[in-house]
């Protein structure tokens, strides 16, 4: 029978917080990758060229409907055999970013579709070149609207980072497991990790709701 020991918690906390730092890094970099790649997918899917949209939509659907964990293993074991070698954290960031880009693409699509037709017409009336229309008129208006939805996917990504422990990234879960494996007492480390996730993601989602009301009035 196990009893909760605060002394033990005190001992392991620094190591878990070190893992948290890795977790946060993975989330931040992964989010940036997913924001950029998602925009690429979204613009490719709107290009109207069948030779572009078809392959991209197949790739996006394939990534979106298969497990992130398997994709991580694929990147981790297969990239080196193709002569591309990254560290585990970089591989994890690529995996997270790639997987979530298929979701952010959908968010951008909705955001772009929501820009009123009059804006397009006005850009045409001013005979703005296509590129300027996108960069100066459409995207800035789309971005403001998609911030809350993107934020929700950042939180979702944060909660998926423990999968990186399976490809030897020393995140929170990895640290908790290695502590448990040496002390044979998993109760405190894993409980703390689980609670830390709630403690971070719940307030963040509340903040997002406030932001949403601010941005979308």
């Amino acid at each position: 029978m196990n009893t909760w020991s605060w002394d033990y918690v005190g001992e392991i906390m620094p190591q878990l917080l070190h893992g948290l730092w890795i977790t946060v890094q993975a989330t931040i970099y992964g989010s940036l990758v997913s924001f950029a790649l998602g925009l690429v997918w979204a613009l490719a899917l709107r290009s109207g060229n069948r030779w572009v949209t078809w392959p991209v939509s197949v790739v996006v659907e394939f990534i979106r409907n298969t497990p992130l964990l398997v994709q991580l293993f694929f990147l981790f074991f297969v990239l080196p055999s193709w002569g591309v070698t990254f560290g585990p954290l970089t591989t994890g960031v690529i995996g997270l970013g790639l997987h979530y880009s298929t979701y952010t693409a959908e968010v951008y699509r909705a955001g772009i579709d929501a820009v009123p037709a009059g804006q397009w017409e006005a850009a045409t009336a001013l005979s703005l070149p296509r590129r300027r229309t996108w960069t100066a008129v459409i995207l800035p208006q789309a971005f403001r609207r998609v911030v809350p939805a993107l934020g929700n996917y950042v939180i979702a990504m944060f909660k998926d980072t423990p999968m990186l422990s399976a490809i030897t990234v020393t995140d929170m879960l990895f640290e908790a497991n290695s502590i448990g494996a040496t002390t044979f007492d998993y109760m405190e480390p894993i409980t703390i990790v689980g609670v830390l996730f709630v403690v971070i993601s719940y307030p963040t989602s509340l903040l997002l709701r406030v932001l949403e009301r601010r941005l979308v009035r």
Binding site: F73, A176, M187, V198
Partner: protein, 242 residues
């Protein structure tokens, strides 16, 4: 890839499908229980259901799975891997599902509820005969999404050494060293399962909507509708350009 390896994969597919079905049943039960509790008249019931949702939505499914498998035995309950996996997936995705149930129940026109009250239906009858039949068809597309997310989540159970598809792939990789082939094949297998699930859910949606005289939502041949409807409604509410 030789015969025995394919056999390994198909055994894995079978376990993955089992894990998905068990977890989906648990998640469905939790989703309806908690979702209806969140629309309850009693404040404490609503509050407790809310705490459940925020906790299980806020934590990581994988951490929960590890907790059930490694920490719970220290309190005296030893769970088999399959059950730790099923419980973790069912409790997590049930929390997401409860939001879907709550949203669908709240989207039923208030007049329907009032009419049921006017006919002096009991709250239970009101739910079963008036509200749910109209709410359930609304739930189908988001449930489809959750079911695919759940299918993707079953891969996590491989980390508890349950012999589902991802774990079998690991065995195949260790014995052949052909990582690209092995992981390529199982990614395709997952995609095929997801495709089948989506087709079945579309069929259920069509039938559920037909039963109350509605048309199903439009969607592509292999794509599922992502939960950006919320985003679209937010954006519509924003109106015009600001």
């Amino acid at each position: 890839m030789t015969g025995p390896l394919w056999q390994l994969f198909f055994e894995g597919v079978w376990v993955t499908v089992q894990l998905m079905i068990y977890s989906a049943l648990l998640a469905g039960t939790v989703a309806f229980g908690i979702g209806m509790a969140r629309t309850s008249r009693h404040k404490p019931v609503r509050f407790l259901a809310g705490v459940y949702v925020e906790f299980f939505r806020g934590t990581s499914a994988l951490v929960l799975m590890f907790w059930l498998f490694f920490a719970l035995p220290l309190l005296g309950w030893q769970l088999a891997g399959m059950w730790a996996g099923t419980l973790a997936l069912g409790l997590s995705y049930g929390a997401y599902g409860s939001e879907v149930v709550r949203g669908a129940i709240q989207s039923v026109a208030p007049a329907q509820r009032e009419a049921a009250i006017a006919l002096s239906f009991s709250p239970w009858q009101r739910m079963r005969k008036v509200i749910l039949p109209q709410a359930v068809p609304e739930m189908m597309p988001p449930f489809n999404n959750l079911l695919i997310e759940l299918l993707k989540g079953t891969a996590l159970a491989s980390l508890l050494s349950i012999g589902e598809l991802t774990f079998q792939a690991k065995l195949a990789r260790l014995s052949t060293g052909e990582s690209a082939q092995v992981y390529g094949i199982i990614l395709v297998m997952y995609f095929v399962i997801a495709f089948v699930v989506t087709r079945v859910m579309r069929l259920l949606e069509r039938r559920a909507k037909a039963s109350i005289g509605q048309k199903p939502e439009k969607a592509g041949w292999f794509s599922r509708k992502l939960p950006v409807e919320e985003l679209e409604t937010q954006i519509a509410a924003a109106g015009g350009n600001r």
